[in-house]
């Protein structure tokens, strides 16, 4: 697919080209945002399946779940929530900076977002290694489950590893997407004219944050 200009003459010189099957750039941006939102709806339901399973086991084993939550690394989990929230603020600011034409600021804000993303993964891995040291492994394997016999404990911790692990994969993908966009900003290919592409990446990053907003109370707080 080539990015040939359409029947518009080149009068508006700095207007970014749009794909030839769209009528104009605005329609193209609208389409890509709509596509992104529908994709996000699928992400909601992907995690939704796991949330439904979590809710079901929570109904059946409230005691085991409550105990396991108290056992979980609340401080690290809460810290991670803060890290993701701040990163979301940064990337939202980056979008507005780019729209205002401040590419350099936008680049720094995206870099900060990615750094926080790495920080999140680092804290997460500390958390995992602590659980491994306590003898908690997915599938009800480990010394923890010798001390805490009974149904519910393996389910909680297997879901914990499964859901936070899948979330961590999403964080990794998000960092990759941001890195790609950052390269675009730095090389001057992504500017205020086609800033909707950064919108798309930012929206994905926010979704990863929203999912964590729900994972946090379920696995660490209540």
């Amino acid at each position: 697919m080539t990015t040939a200009t359409h029947h518009e003459p080149a009068a508006i010189g700095h207007e970014a080209p749009h794909l030839e099957h769209f009528e104009d750039l605005e329609k193209q941006a609208h389409a890509s945002r709509l596509g992104m939102w529908i994709f996000l709806a699928t992400e909601v339901l992907l995690f939704g399946g796991a949330f439904a399973l979590f809710a079901s086991y929570q109904v059946v084993f409230p005691e085991a779940f409550r105990y396991s939550i108290h056992h979980n690394a609340k401080l690290l989990g809460s810290l991670n929530t803060g890290v993701l929230l701040v990163s979301s603020i940064f990337v939202a600011a980056a979008v507005h900076a780019l729209r205002g034409g401040r590419s350099k600021l936008a680049a720094w804000l995206v870099t900060a977002t990615m750094a926080l993303g790495f920080a999140f993964l680092g804290i997460k891995s500390i958390e995992y290694s602590r659980h491994f040291a306590e003898g908690i492994f997915p599938g009800g394997v480990g010394s923890f489950f010798q001390e805490h016999r009974g149904p519910g404990f393996p389910e909680f911790w297997t879901l914990y590893y499964g859901m936070t692990g899948l979330h961590a994969i999403h964080v990794t993908i998000g960092i990759g997407v941001l890195a790609f966009l950052l390269a675009g900003i730095v090389r001057g290919k992504l500017t205020h004219v086609n800033s909707h592409r950064l919108d798309i990446g930012a929206i994905y990053w926010h979704l990863v944050d929203v999912i964590w907003i729900f994972l946090w109370p379920l696995f660490y707080l209540a």
């Binding site: 794909l19 009528e23 596509g35 994709f39 995690f47 086991y57 393996p154 297997t158």
Partner: protein, 562 residues
């Protein structure tokens, strides 16, 4: 509507082919096909691949039927049989039925019907085909390695422990899920943003409504399947035990999540067929649909209510009695929407100018089989009857009536209906009618006896069976060969026409639907000039203008004669 002089030359003075490049001959290298972003070519790529997969699934089906010739081992051992029916299910559901009409005909005609040059995300569209092929190949590789023996439903704990290639096959299906989602996202966005300006929602062809409803289901249901398959993959591959009863896990929860996708998936298969029926019925009866709005909105109704009924697969699975009642009555609601459609299609014929061509014969088969299959579906949702029928051949017959009698017949109707548009050639009408009749008769002979088998209590997925069922199995197996013969004839007729078929004009059926207002086959960007949608898509009260209203075949072109 202003009177317009014909602005295009009559087909009699059609230009030689070379002067009007079509999407088929604009480029002809293999590379141009494999890297195409043209929605029509992607539709063709899908068509070729899923027909191959359908043939493969059909071979499995014939082998299963042959095995049942005798109550004892006939052809294969029990393990081979179990792998065979699992693969038949997996291949037919995910490699054929789910992508069939949306990915082939949706891709081909949806943008044309909207007056667009392409779908909203053409590169993603191509990616979806590659993802689909990658997933399919992974599924088939698992077949070659050690197969899968869990049934296409993958129920744990059996699937958690099965030492066949469960994780590989699940991974393949998981990958295919992405391609389904991409197609769904693409169609929704295309319908929203790519319509020719001035084309309002209630002026769109009914197929677009059906595909829109289908896409909603694809987008909202598939991720849940993805998640649940991922969990079973972890269960089987790494022993995580999300559904492991030994640690307190509940396998019934898998069934909830699985059917939350797999029941709406039935509507992914049947809704596009319903869209095809709407198009074919109006075209061949030359009449407006009896109620456009009822058919259009019921597509959305099915898409929504389809999500509320998954529990009727679980009446005897240990689900609570309360839930059984709730799912029972919710299931009745879906049937209402289907009934609205059937009534409207039938009454569309009234007062029309009906011409019984091959696609319409397929649609008649669809009507009979779908009503029968659908009503037995309602019967199965009447909870106490399901207790007897659950997991017997009755259920097998019921869903084959829907998926083969409904979805496959719709696919064949679509294939014959749009064949002239896709290729610019016409097939032999007489042989087309013969194959359609054979498919109908063969299908009925194959699956009607299975209702009786189910009544008698024959459970599904049985390798051996008690000898009293042999007569009915014999009828069923014979029917499967008639069905196969019908399909083979249809394939030969179409392949012959591909090469030697008579060239056709833009609108051989005299349809008012928008895709017939461009050349057959269409040019690369669908229209040579701005399409004229002044006459409504179901307006048969006035003639179309120019060559688009001329159903007569084109005279042979000079180079064809030579």
């Amino acid at each position: 509507m202003t009177t317009l002089a014909p602005t295009v030359p009559s087909p009699r003075d059609a230009l030689p082919k070379a002067a009007q490049p079509t999407y088929l001959n604009v480029e002809t290298t293999l590379r141009s096909w494999l890297l195409t972003t043209d929605h029509k070519r992607i539709g063709i790529l899908y068509l070729v691949s899923i027909v191959v997969f359908f043939a493969l699934g059909g071979v499995f089906a014939l082998a299963i039927r042959l095995e049942h010739l005798t109550p004892n081992p006939t052809l294969m051992d029990a393990m081979t049989y179990n792998r065979m029916f699992t693969l038949h299910g997996v291949v037919m559901v995910w490699l054929f039925l789910i992508p069939s009409i949306p990915a082939v005909f949706g891709n081909f005609v949806l943008p044309i019907m909207l007056g667009a040059k392409d779908v909203a995300f053409p590169r993603l569209n191509l990616a979806s085909w590659y993802i689909f092929m990658a997933g399919s190949i992974i599924v088939l590789v698992s077949t070659i390695s050690s197969g899968i023996d869990t049934g296409w439903t993958f129920y744990p704990p059996y699937s958690s422990y099965s030492n066949t290639a469960v994780p590989t096959a699940l991974f393949g299906v998981f990958i295919i899920g992405f391609s389904t989602i991409i197609t769904g996202v693409n169609f929704i966005v295309t319908t929203h943003t790519m319509r020719k300006s001035g084309l309002r929602w209630l002026q769109m062809p009914l197929l677009v409504w059906a595909l829109y409803g289908t896409s909603i289901i694809q987008v909202l249901a598939t991720p849940v399947l993805g998640m649940v398959l991922l969990l079973v993959m972890l269960d089987n591959g790494l022993g995580w035990g999300f559904f492991n009863p030994a640690t307190g896990g509940d396998p019934v929860l898998f069934q909830h999540l699985f059917w939350f996708y797999s029941h709406p998936a039935v509507y992914i298969m049947i809704l596009p067929s319903m869209g095809v029926v709407s198009e074919v019925v109006t075209t061949f009866s030359r009449k407006n649909p009896f109620s456009y709005k009822a058919i259009a909105y019921s597509s959305l109704g099915i898409a929504f209510v389809g999500f509320l009924t998954w529990g009727h697969h679980m009446f005897v699975s240990g689900m609570s009695k309360f839930d059984a009642g709730a799912f029972g009555i919710l299931s009745m609601l879906v049937a209402i929407f289907s009934a609205i459609k059937v009534f409207n299609w039938t009454w569309t014929l009234k007062g029309g100018a009906v011409s019984l061509k091959t696609p319409l014969l397929y649609v008649f088969a669809f009507l009979f089989l779908f009503v029968f299959g659908g009503m037995t579906g309602v019967a199965v949702a009447a909870t106490s009857l399901d207790v007897h029928w659950h997991d017997t051949y009755f259920v097998v017959a019921h869903f084959h009536f829907i998926m083969v009698g409904g979805a496959l017949t719709g696919f064949l109707a679509a294939l014959h209906y749009w064949f002239p548009k896709m290729t610019g050639k016409m097939y032999s009408e007489r042989l087309g009618l013969l194959s359609a009749a054979l498919v109908f008769a063969g299908f009925f002979a194959t699956f009607f006896p299975q209702f009786l088998l189910g009544n008698a209590g024959m459970p599904r997925r049985y390798f051996n069976y008690p000898p009293q069922f042999q007569v009915l199995h014999l009828v069923s197996t014979s029917g499967s060969w008639i069905l196969a013969a019908g399909l083979i004839i249809a394939a030969i007729v179409l392949l012959y026409a591909l090469k030697w078929g008579h060239p056709v004009g833009p609108n051989p059926w005299g349809s008012r639907s928008f895709e017939w207002r461009t050349d057959s086959p269409p040019p690369k960007h669908n229209f040579h000039r701005e399409p004229n949608f002044d006459v409504g898509t179901y307006d048969y009260t006035q003639p179309l203008l120019g060559k688009y209203d001329d159903p007569r075949p084109l005279p042979p072109l000079p180079q064809d004669v030579a």
